[in-house]
Symmetry: C2
């Protein structure tokens, strides 16, 4: 009898991989360090997802339920893998909860860590209560509370969304682009305008990266239907005049300083490598790429291969990634396990 | 005995799907309208691929060979599917070469069509021989000929790469962003600088969309190591003064008209929906999305599902897509076929 596949991380990629394997009768052990499955979209309370517009609780929640109901998936929540030894087809994993498992292979779906805005102090987070993150706005919307200024609960009349907070920023050691924040911010801007039609929403950007079909669905739509305003700017600082937040910077298109008062400022926070990647790298014996994400060998040969045979990787563990692509990579890694191990399904 | 899976299109996505199915002993029929496999990277003679830097002929060529050597894959090249009837698990396909096959399911990996620059006449393609496309430059490099001006074979001293040719352009009915042209152009610019160190390379852009980890590997590297120059501009026209090509436009950062002479102008051409999509839509009974790509139902439920049960889609048939993501989606669609049809592998 064949051994199960170890899947580490129960976000979109891990849920996809476990579901795929389960449907063809392959057993998996799904380990997540958190007490429940779903990854960032569930645990951080995302609202409506890009690009389907479905609520995260429904879309990713549905993927969670499907896996939890699958007799072929054994969920080990609130646990981490502390050792992983052996060879492809014959690994042994030890978990922090003391359990041990044999495994044919492992798929790392260990995701990312949201950038912590306190590392960009000049933009006001941690100093002014009405400077929040995209994740907090997602929570305001998904909880049904609505978009409100944390300081006093009022409906904001002017909101600024600042892109690239913790991305494309060498000063703080984050040179990568987090890929999806532009589109997520366009989406959030439309949601704010929908809930609060009197609220003006500005997006401060370096480059707008609503790539592929997102261009129409987010960039154009947010401007034309929802009157969201885009300002290409270099931001110097976020301060306060006592009643309003003040965003100071330079409009790089007209080469002029701009200072605009806002009720709420939103940091579009980036995707850091998972803070646990050094340990994951050590336990699983897989290389990290220079930024600290898990390195992918190449995608022409063995899909999702890492530097260690029999250990695969999928989703935002490999770098900033969309939910859709994470799901595709999760399914693809499950397929790659079958392909490479020539296990009977 | 189970029936084979019909795969339409032998580019990166289709090759990935056929390989995946073959490795677990599932038979597939791989149909391609061209006489040989490989899709755009092979048929259009791409040079070094993003992001691995491997030659297309090796990377995608290797995927072709792997499939051609696979006894579980029956290749039907130079053929199209003319009818596809039946139900999931029990389809019947008729090909233009007269052959008929039963199939459990179909995966459409029918890709895209390169934008034809003659549809942007004011930018000089078709009028001036030294106005070429990114695809032509890829061919100059991959053939070993080197980057030369077609008019007289000389080495260019100044090259302009114009981004968004056939993308983000409502005037010509192409509103989408083609996703990968920015990164491909950064890559080509570095290749030109490597071959011709005396050649100055300028990239004219609207927004630079080197998303995710491409930011470091292409955008920063091309500027810092290879001294490629980026100009944010709105281009008015490409003309000639008799000896040089003249690119006229407005530098949108300094709000000034700029007119620069070049030896060669390169159109970074976009990804149109496959010109055959209307027929593919009709034959397979699958919906297209508003731009003309094959519509994907959603990715949380059934990966790569189209509007017709048992017919899946992967890669740039769904919209502008990278090679890596096309490959992931191809493997994932193969997995989805197994999952949905509950076929024994």
């Amino acid at each position: 009898m064949s051994k199960p596949i170890l899947i580490v991380g129960g976000g979109p990629a891990g849920l996809a991989a476990a579901h795929s394997l389960g449907t063809i009768g392959r057993q998996s052990i799904l380990v997540d360090k958190e007490d429940r499955l779903g990854g960032a979209p569930i645990l951080s309370g995302y609202a409506k997802l890009v690009p389907t517009g479905e609520w995260a609780a429904d879309a990713i929640g549905g993927m969670v339920k499907r896996v939890e109901d699958d007799g072929n998936v054994q969920v080990e929540a609130g646990a981490t893998v502390t050792s992983f030894t052996g060879e492809p087809g014959n690994f042994r994993a030890t978990l922090s909860n003391g359990k041990e498992f044999e495994a044919e292979a492992a798929i790392l779906c260990t995701g990312f860590t949201h950038f912590d805005s306190v590392n960009k102090p000049e933009w006001g987070f941690g100093t002014y209560p009405d400077v929040v993150t995209t994740t907090q706005v997602e929570q305001m919307i998904s909880s049904g509370q609505g978009v409100r200024c944390p300081s006093d609960g009022r409906k904001p009349k002017r909101v600024a969304i600042l892109l690239c907070v913790g991305s494309r920023d060498r000063q703080i050691g984050r040179e990568w682009c987090s890929k999806i924040c532009c589109t997520v911010s366009s989406n959030l801007a439309m949601e704010i305008r929908e809930e609060l039609p009197d609220c003006h929403v500005y997006i401060y950007y370096m480059d707008i990266r609503t790539f592929g079909l997102y261009e129409t669905k987010y960039y154009w739509k947010s401007q034309e239907e929802f009157k969201v305003k885009y300002i290409k700017a270099r931001i110097a600082e976020v301060t306060s005049d006592g009643s309003k937040l003040i965003v100071k910077g330079e409009d790089t298109l007209v080469k002029r300083p701009i200072t605009i008062p806002f009720d709420m400022v939103v940091h579009a926070i980036g995707m850091d490598p998972n803070v646990d990647n050094p340990q994951i790298s050590e336990v699983f014996g897989v290389d990290l790429e220079p930024n600290g994400y898990i390195d992918v060998a190449n995608r022409y040969g063995i899909m999702g291969a890492t530097s260690r045979a029999g250990v695969f990787v999928a989703g935002s563990a490999t770098g900033p990634e969309t939910i859709d692509d994470s799901i595709a990579q999760g399914h693809a890694a499950a397929m790659a396990v079958l392909s490479e191990l020539k296990v009977s399904a």
